[in-house]
Structures are given as structure tokens and as C-alpha cells.
Symmetry: C2
Subunit: 261 residues, 2 copies
DNA sequence: CAGTGGTCTAGACCACATC
DNA sequence: ATGTGGTCTAGACCACTGT
């Protein structure tokens, strides 16, 4: 070859030779998953730098004592995460640059916590109410049927960030006010055995009403971000509908998107 | 517990028996992909209704004359799209309800067009300029290096909806103003052989300045949605940075999210 | 041309859910 | 006990990329 391919710089040969993998066949953790996690760690720690080739799958499978499909499954999972790129006839290489974490169903509490903002929550209402038409439609229940209404104010550094209004099918979950003030709703649902599967979100903006302004410590007419979300479990049944308002001066949505070919 | 299984209603037996699949082994289209598309069509057309079981993979593979891994690959791709759910010991069933289309890298032009809004575009600027610090950082080039600046106004029904400001590495693409007025930027990039791979987006809100208000036919101080996006190709190199402003009264972002287990 | 990933096969055994 | 999906194997041939 020439000096550098110049195209996307396949850079060095397999930088993977120096890595030892530790696969435990007696573990209940699938082999492809063990391998994927160790490859991911190697990428995170810079052992595999962006642009590095991974080395071909056949050699890798021989070296690891795995079949090629198993190795492929591990690699594919990282391709799906956007960490690797495969090119036929070329090889598999670590993606250049900033693909850090893919998109997730954003939990405000987790977002703030991972940003080191030390979120706190004040529960304003936690009660059972009859469903209005829009809530009933979103949750797929009869209008007037009982739902749990949850209204919360979320703070960081003592400043209000968001007003959160959520509706859940009653009897889906016991909502303890004290726990709600120390953790997020999604975390509570998760630990109650509810596995979220998908969600539909709408993000918009509008000006603050006088009431909202007082509540969020903004001026009347200030720009607010709005979000409506309906979340579904694995069977596709709605488990939550939320209508949230964020202070645009203190919060924005941050996404990482992947394009599926 | 009660009369039916009540859990998630596995409903009928395999409703798939009546479907004939048409697999063409001489086609260059992979078999698993042919099968996936035909399964998806069956779901879209209601032949496979929500909750229907798909029938076990082994029988299906025998019936189709395919190996089980190939059938699995087809099914898995639909699971990844959120259309099917697999449960060990139970079976594969069509997800209940509204999972229509998963999240995609949203192109405003396509969004408006698919909503039947007949978008039009007015190109305000299309020229080469030196990169400012923030643009240079986003595109990973030197400050002051030449980039292509694109400023557009997007309309639906003769009303302005958004002001779009984009920066691209020069020489990546020839931006013909006439074509830009009749299609979207992403579509032009795609037909120029640029395959988008991932993007980082920030969505926020703020009040309109006097200038923006005039441009978008809003009042000064009206709430606007803002979006900044950097898009990357499959090697991870930035190919576009955009800073967009939307009239909140006429546009909102609509997402469908999937949770990866 | 040689080397890569992409697809496909025909089995096997295991873990889990349901009856 | 039965049936399901989950994992894994050891090969095979093809399509594409680069030289």
C-alpha cells in the first residue's frame, strides 16, 4: 500500500493483538456478550483508537476459540451501538470521534444526576383522578376512568428546572411520595418490574403563563420547552403519559442519533 | 388468572398460516431481508394483528425452506424495529398499538412532505466563508478555514416555519441553489453518496429577537424552538453543522423512541 | 489477485415459561 | 413434560475492495 490510505486512514494493523480476552464458558453470560463488553472496554480505554482496524473475524474467532458467527454477533452489537463500522473488503474499524453514547429514553432525573446537578424533587400532587379525554386517549382507557395523577417540581441547585405532570394507570404501581422525592419515576417503575419498550414524544415551545412563571421563577412570557410523552411496555400497552414544562433558560434536550441503513 | 390469559392476550394461534411468502433465491436481495419485508407488510396490512403469535421459528423455517438462523435474522430485524416482541418460552408476537415508525434522523423537509404540507424553500445565502470558532469546533477543522454557509427559509402553505443555517466542509458537495429550493439538504447529500451515520442534537427554546420575528412573521418575544445539530458520516467525520430556528406555533419535534435492553 | 465482510446451512444443547 | 426462544458450532459460498 502507499503510506496512508488517505481515505479514512485505516491507520495501524490490528491493535488488538496485545489485548487479552477473558472468556468464561461456565458463566451464564453469553460468550458474544462477554466479548462485546471487553471490546467496548478496549475502545473506551483507548486500546483500540478511532480508525484502528479490528482484524478479520476468522482469525479473531480462531484466536478466541469461538465460532465465527459468535464473534460476528459480538461485533454486530457494537456496530449497532455505533462504535464500530464494517466495510466489505476492507475490515472493521473503530469509528472516528464523538460517538459516545447512543440515544436513550431520557429520564430527566438521570440526565440531571449524570450531569452532576444533584436533582431534588417536590411532589405537589399524588392522587387518583378521573381521566380527561386526552389522558384517556393517550393511556387507552375509558374517559372518566381512574388514573393516578402526579405533579412534581424538579430542582437543581435549589433552582426550579421543570414542572412535571404525569398520568399512570392506577394499580400499575404504588407511588410512594417519599420515594418519589428521592428518585425518578422511571427508576421506580423499573424496580417495580415494568420494562419500558418504546415511547412517543413531542417537543415544542411556548411562552410562560403568569402562573407557570411564578412556579418556575421565570418572567411571564418567557420561553418554555414543552414535552408530551406516552411510554409503552413490551406488549405495547401505555404505562405512562406525561406533560412536562422546562425552563428553556436552564434546560435543553441533548440527543445522539444513529442512522439505520 | 381470570378468564383469558389476561396477561398480554396471546390471542389466536399462528395467523401466519394463510400468508404465502415469496422468496426469490436468485435475487441479490438477501433472503432474511426479503422475509423481513414481507413480514412487515403483513403487519402493516393487518394480516398479522397486534398480539398475534408468529408461530415458532423452527416450523417457520421448515415451511419456508430456510435455515433457522436465517429466519431468526429476519425476525430479529423486526424486533429491532420495535414491531415484534420475543418472549422465551412463549413465542414471538406483534407488538400492541402505536409503534409506527422508529426514530430517524429527522429531515425537516421530509417531515413536512410526509405530513402533506408541501414544503418550499427560499435560499437566502449560499457562499463560502471562513469558519468561526464554534463552527470550526463542530466540524473539526481549523478556525478560519473555509466552509460553505447555507441560510434558508422554509415555508409551508406560504407561511414561514423555520430559519435554517447550515455549515458544511467545502468541497464535500456542490450546493446548487436551484436544487436546494426544490429538495432537502439531506436528500442532496445522500444522492451525492454521503451516508449519514450519526448525529448529535440539542433542542432548546428562546424568545424571538426583533429581527427573527420579522423573518418568521412572529411577534418579538414569541417562543421559538432551537436546534443545533452536528451530523457525521460512517467514519465519524463531521459532514454538517446546523443551527435552526422553528416557529413554535407552527412546528414541534415528534419522536418515537425504542429502549434497548 | 488476495483478503475482507455478508449470507446461509443443518444441526446441537440450554434456559425459561407454561401446563 | 413440552414447547418456546437463546446461544453456539463448523463449515460453505458469494460480493465487494483493494492492489
Amino acid at each position: 500500500m502507499t503510506r496512508t490510505g488517505d481515505h479514512s486512514r485505516p491507520v495501524t494493523g490490528p491493535a488488538l493483538d496485545s489485548v487479552d480476552f477473558d472468556l468464561d464458558r461456565s458463566s451464564p453470560v453469553p460468550l458474544y456478550y462477554q466479548l462485546a463488553r471487553q471490546l467496548e472496554a478496549a475502545i473506551d480505554h483507548g486500546v483500540l483508537a478511532p480508525g484502528n482496524l479490528l482484524g478479520n473475524e476468522v482469525d479473531l474467532s480462531v484466536r478466541l476459540g469461538l465460532s465465527r458467527p459468535t464473534v460476528r454477533q459480538a461485533i454486530q452489537s457494537l456496530v449497532d451501538k455505533g462504535l464500530l463500522v464494517r466495510r466489505r473488503g476492507v475490515g472493521t474499524q473503530v469509528v472516528h470521534s464523538q460517538v459516545k453514547r447512543p440515544l436513550e429514553l431520557s429520564s430527566l432525573y438521570d440526565d440531571l444526576e449524570s450531569a452532576g446537578q444533584g436533582p431534588t424533587t417536590q411532589v405537589l400532587r399524588n392522587e387518583r383522578v378521573p381521566a380527561t379525554a386526552d389522558v384517556a386517549a393517550a393511556l387507552g382507557i375509558a374517559e372518566g376512568g381512574e388514573v393516578t395523577l402526579l405533579e412534581r417540581l424538579r430542582f437543581t441547585h435549589g433552582q426550579p428546572v421543570a414542572f412535571l405532570c404525569n398520568y399512570l394507570p392506577t394499580a400499575l404501581l404504588e407511588l410512594d411520595t417519599a420515594r418519589l422525592e428521592s428518585t425518578g419515576l422511571y427508576r421506580m417503575m423499573r424496580s417495580a418490574g415494568i420494562t419500558l419498550h418504546s415511547a412517543r414524544q413531542t417537543i415544542g415551545a411556548r411562552s410562560a403563563t403568569a402562573e407557570e412563571a411564578v412556579c418556575l421563577d421565570e418572567k411571564e412570557g418567557a420561553a418554555l420547552l414543552t414535552m408530551q410523552r406516552t411510554a409503552y411496555d413490551d406488549t405495547g400497552r401505555p404505562v405512562e403519559y406525561g406533560s412536562h414544562i422546562y425552563r428553556a433558560s436552564r434546560y435543553a434536550f441533548d440527543f445522539q442519533l444513529l442512522v439505520r441503513p
